[in-house]
Amino acid sequence: MRLNCTVNGEARQADDVWAGESLLYVLRERLGLPGSKNACEQGECGSCTVYMDGTPVCACLVAAGQAEGRDVVTVEGIADGPVQQAFLAAGAVQCGFCTPGLVVAVHDLLARDSAPTDPEIREALAGNLCRCTGYEKILDAVRLAVQR
């Protein structure tokens, strides 16, 4: 099938897509957007978090066919924002694999709540696992992004 969707504000098409492959696969392998990471493939780790129609979802669980006509924003689409800079400044990146998903999740959190408390930050990021366990610096990065 030919898949049509909007990605980071741009109308995109991908040909020869199997409707059952994941949106994550389409983004990474067909549209050249490798920011979203493929880790658990179960919706557990959040490394593949993208916005679909304005809502953060796990792209690994979305079938390509379900993304037809949808508006997708990946971590590449929010690269100019303060969240990524805050992660850099706070040293909140170790191996970096969870970082893109976290950047999207934090971007969403701050869009909903400009002054989250620590428990609110922790709960909002519960779906993003850092296998390096670098959570303290990640929390620092969120607090820094809030200040900025």
């Binding site: 199997w18 978090t49 809502t55 979802v57 796990c58």
Partner: protein, 332 residues
């Protein structure tokens, strides 16, 4: 993952006609459980019928004060709905204590009811599981069964139903609307899920050609005074060891005039605690009456070595939740 055919449904009747002639097909909603099960090789449908574009995503207030929730309403949207938060707060709390933000954004109400157990041995293809392969045996009985059920179990199966949302819905006496090309049925939530008995692979009353189209909540004034507590091994993103959904109200005489109680994490289906409710109704609100009712409900529990702790934990959690609701009411 086995290759499958993908069909996008844009009309409920067409989707129902299709599944009626293709029993190997499954409906795809949020995909948060089904896709995972397909990747694990536990489910292998030949066709997925994507229903996410069907017009079943509305929440409608009913003239009698109840609420009609479309089957495709996302868990996040249901939890955030002002009427749910105001009239059925424990439903909102239960949903928000389940999964993660990303998953709640995807998961649907209908799919939540149909999610499969997270019993470790159901997920491990190398282990015996009567639910996955009828007649194979149950590895959980002799295995790591800390998370398994103590109520509603059978020799064949001790798997818990994992939903938080459905526990609150059981307390509310929600009704599940299902449709097929043969017609529409309404099934009380408390009867929707089946006890495992000798057929643990049969999990609900839903037939293979039926689609959940809505969940209806009856008007329930006592639910405005409700609370959901979930006890688990970590503070977030874990399934319940024990959960309690309770609603409580008092008469002019100070005695319990209305009560709803349901348990999660301890049973093979969302567990409406009717034995406890009957003991509580008309009783004075006291630690003793709460503890007596909880113990009566758990009297039927059949523990395994790894999960016997759940009996006492469930009793204490019931008492704690009822105490909290009593304190809230006497303070208001």
């Amino acid at each position: 993952m086995k290759t499958f055919n993908y069909l996008r449904a844009t009309d409920v009747d067409v989707a129902l006609q299709r599944i009626a002639v293709e029993p190997g097909a499954r409906f795809l909603g949020g995909g948060t459980n089904l896709v995972d099960l397909m990747r694990e090789g536990i489910e292998a449908p030949e066709t997925l019928i994507d229903i996410t574009r069907l017009p079943l995503d509305g929440i409608e207030e009913l003239p009698d004060g109840g609420l009609r929730i479309g089957a495709l309403v996302r868990n996040s949207d249901l939890a955030a709905h002002p009427v749910v938060r105001g009239r059925y707060p424990f439903l909102s709390q239960a949903i928000l204590l389940g999964a993660t933000g990303q998953i709640r954004n995807m998961a649907t109400v209908g799919g939540n009811l149909l999610q499969r157990t997270r019993c470790l041995y159901f997920y491990d293809e190398a282990s015996a599981c009567n639910k996955r392969e009828p007649g194979a045996g149950c590895a959980a009985r002799e295995g790591f069964n800390r998370g398994n059920a103590v109520l509603g179990t059978s020799d064949a199966c001790v798997a818990t139903h994992p939903s938080d949302m459905a526990v609150a819905l059981a307390a509310i006496d929600a009704v599940v609307e299902v449709r097929s090309s043969r017609g529409t049925r309404h099934i009380p939530l408390t009867e929707f899920h089946l006890l495992p008995g000798t057929t643990p692979h049969l999990e609900s009353q839903l037939e293979s050609d039926e689609l959940i189209t809505a969940v209806e909540l009856p008007p329930l004034p006592v639910a405005a005074h409700s609370y959901y507590r979930k006890v688990r091994d970590r503070a977030s993103y874990a399934f319940a060891l024990v959960s309690v959904a309770a609603a409580l109200d008092f008469g002019a005489d100070g005695r319990i005039a209305d009560v709803r109680l349901a348990l999660g994490g301890v049973a093979t289906k969302p567990w409406r605690a009717r034995t406890a409710e009957q003991l509580l109704l008309g009783a004075a609100a006291s630690e003793d009456s709460f503890a007596t009712a909880a113990a009566a409900e758990l009297a039927a529990a059949v523990p395994l070595p790894g999960n016997a702790f759940k009996i006492d934990l469930a009793c204490r959690t019931v008492v704690a939740v009822l105490r909290r609701l009593t304190t809230e009411r006497s303070g208001s």
